[in-house]
């Protein structure tokens, strides 16, 4: 390839990349780097007043902040519960859907409805369903099924306030996981199952010995993406409990948002969000490294 043609191609490449790249650098990359810088300052909201360099002061403060500790624990618990719930239920749903032919598209659509519905709407919906004393769920538990004598004030106590949030997280995510599992299941050749059946393997053995190992990359993918999603929980918490009662149901992002936009503590908010980013990036790399390897070498 001669030089002028090569230069010409580079020029074309930059024309193609330019509009997207400019927006990306200015409105995505710059804010992230700026947030990193802010996290080392006592950031002043007053124009003209200088920002005070505090080094890792904001991070130390976050480390000792009891609400950060509560938020971290809540975020981890939410992620653990919802990722596990979504993975198991989505896998079961996909295995069942893979078994049937008639009505598959119809049921897939139904299971996917929560996925496409706005977080704002479904959060308010779950808040409504879990109301007390006069909420739909309490009504069903007390008056229809007679499982409990008194309505449960779900949102009043930190111990139960996460139940609607967890339930929502799982309910909203099953359809997405199911669609992806289903696509992976359909790549497994039927002959493998037939051969295993001839060898006398039962359904459970076929699941453990054939299906799960073969869809391992999909499981890892879902695990990583769902985990990132779990750590990013925000809208449902803000709309269902808003971190209450007494900040006991804050998650990292809701606490960060409250610090930044209610208390205008921008530097501290930025530090908290980087705390979360560091956790997510580390865990993502660890999961990809340790879980994907065996599948690729075998």
């Amino acid at each position: 390839m001669n030089i002028s043609l090569r230069k010409q191609r580079i020029l074309y490449a930059f024309i193609f990349i330019l509009p997207g790249l400019l927006l990306y650098l200015m409105f995505v990359i710059y804010p992230i780097l700026k947030a990193f810088q802010m996290s080392f300052y006592e950031w002043s909201i007053m124009p003209g007043k200088p920002n005070e360099w505090v080094g890792i002061g904001n991070y130390i403060r976050a480390f000792n902040d009891p609400v950060v500790r509560i938020s971290l624990r809540n975020t981890f618990m939410y992620t653990l519960v919802t990722v596990t719930g979504q993975l198991i239920l989505a896998l079961i749903a996909a295995l069942l859907m893979n078994y049937i032919i008639r009505g598959r598209t119809f049921f897939r659509t139904i299971y996917y409805l929560p996925v496409i519905t706005s977080w704002v709407v479904v959060s308010l919906l779950f808040k409504y369903l879990f109301q007390s004393p006069k909420g739909v769920l309490n009504h069903i538990l007390v008056n229809v099924l007679h499982l409990i004598a008194e309505p449960i004030p779900w949102l009043r106590y930190p111990s139960t306030a996460f139940i609607p949030i967890d339930a929502l997280g799982i309910w909203k995510g099953i359809g997405w996981g199911m669609v992806i599992f289903l696509a992976a299941l359909q790549t497994i050749p039927n002959e493998l199952y037939e051969a295993a059946a001839i060898d006398g393997a039962n359904a459970w053995q076929r699941l453990i010995k054939i299906t799960l190992p073969l869809i391992r990359p999909t499981i890892v993918f879902l695990l990583v993406v769902l985990m990132i999603g779990g750590f990013n929980v925000f809208i449902s918490v803000v709309l269902i409990t808003d971190g209450g009662p007494l900040q006991r149901t804050e998650v990292i992002l809701s606490y960060m948002y409250h610090q930044a936009f209610d208390f205008l503590d921008f530097g501290y908010g930025a530090a908290i969000s980087f705390f979360l980013a560091a956790i997510i990036i580390t865990l993502s790399f660890l999961q990809i490294r340790f879980l994907r390897r065996p599948a690729e070498t075998s």
């Binding site: 977080w119 709407v121 006069k134 992002l253 936009f261 969000s273």
Partner: protein, 282 residues
């Protein structure tokens, strides 16, 4: 005898499977049914709490209140304008960028691409404080176009990543033929690559549209003026104002949700293909 038994066993198994699937489907749908039912109950009934799934005196008054008195016709228009405009620019810019990544060598290519992968892992909200200050400085707060710029910029990374994978599967031979015939890379891109990529572009468009239509956090942070609100913030605020009037809140919610469901059900094949393509690439 045993053959009949096996056939019967299979039949029974199938019934069991359908039974569980239907049960799951009921679980998926019931919350929505309660939403619809409550939206059809008028104020008084919501307060008295009529827990029945079928409203005693169904009425569409809540929808009329939401649409007119609560200005949801304005919010609907805002959301539609923002979502459609953003989709147009996201598709254009992401596909251009993805094409450059798929076909050209240029300085900085690896670094930019690696940064995109890294950004996909960083929570969107990490940049929100500087984004807020930036919008203020540039006069983009309280502006629909301001939201559009941030929406487009924010979804360029993921869609570039998705489309690059798709463009790489297109045959290069056709492109060389266009060059020999005296066309340039713009001819190739607009006349050949984009038309050949309709399914992928449809996927990107639909998924982005949904994302913009439902976006809450940036809109909440950037928009203060009531006439500039989008549906998600208007719904959340409605709940804040009329906490107990769930009928009205859900009527407004359904105004936002029903178009999405219609789009989803009619364009499903693009959706499912795209979701899976994104997953396999990831």
């Amino acid at each position: 005898m045993s053959r009949i038994f096996i056939a019967f066993d299979k039949y029974l198994k199938k019934i069991m499977v359908y039974l569980i699937i239907v049960l799951g489907a009921v679980g998926m749908v019931i919350p929505f049914l309660y939403m619809v039912s409550t939206s059809l109950k008028e104020h008084a009934y919501s307060i008295q709490f009529d827990p029945g799934l079928i409203p005693m005196n169904p009425s569409i008054n809540n929808y009329q209140y939401a649409w007119q008195l609560s200005h949801f016709q304005i919010y609907f228009k805002n959301s539609l304008f923002i979502a459609l405009t953003s989709v147009f620019f996201v598709v254009l810019f992401s596909s251009m960028m993805a094409y450059a990544f798929a076909r050209f060598e240029f300085p900085g290519k690896e670094i930019i691409f690696f940064s995109i992968l890294l950004v996909l892992m960083v929570p969107n909200m990490v940049g929100i404080i500087p984004q807020f200050l930036l919008a203020k400085t540039l006069g983009l707060r309280n502006s629909l176009w301001g939201l559009i710029i941030f929406y487009v910029a924010g979804s360029v990374p993921f869609n570039t990543f998705l489309l690059r994978g798709f463009f790489e599967t297109l045959p290069r031979e056709l492109e060389d033929a266009v060059l020999i015939d005296g066309g340039n890379y713009f001819t190739i891109f607009f006349r050949m690559v984009l038309p050949l990529s309709t399914p992928a572009l449809a996927t990107v468009s639909i998924l982005s549209f949904l994302g913009f239509w439902d976006e809450y956090i940036l809109a909440l942070t950037f928009i203060d003026d009531a006439p500039k609100r989008t549906l998600p913030i208007a719904i959340a605020l409605l709940h804040g104002q009329y906490g107990t009037d769930w009928g009205m809140v859900f009527a407004a919610s359904l105004i936002a949700v029903i178009p999405v469901i219609v789009v989803f059900v009619s364009l499903q094949r693009y959706f499912v293909g795209g979701i899976v393509a994104g997953a396999v690439k990831g």
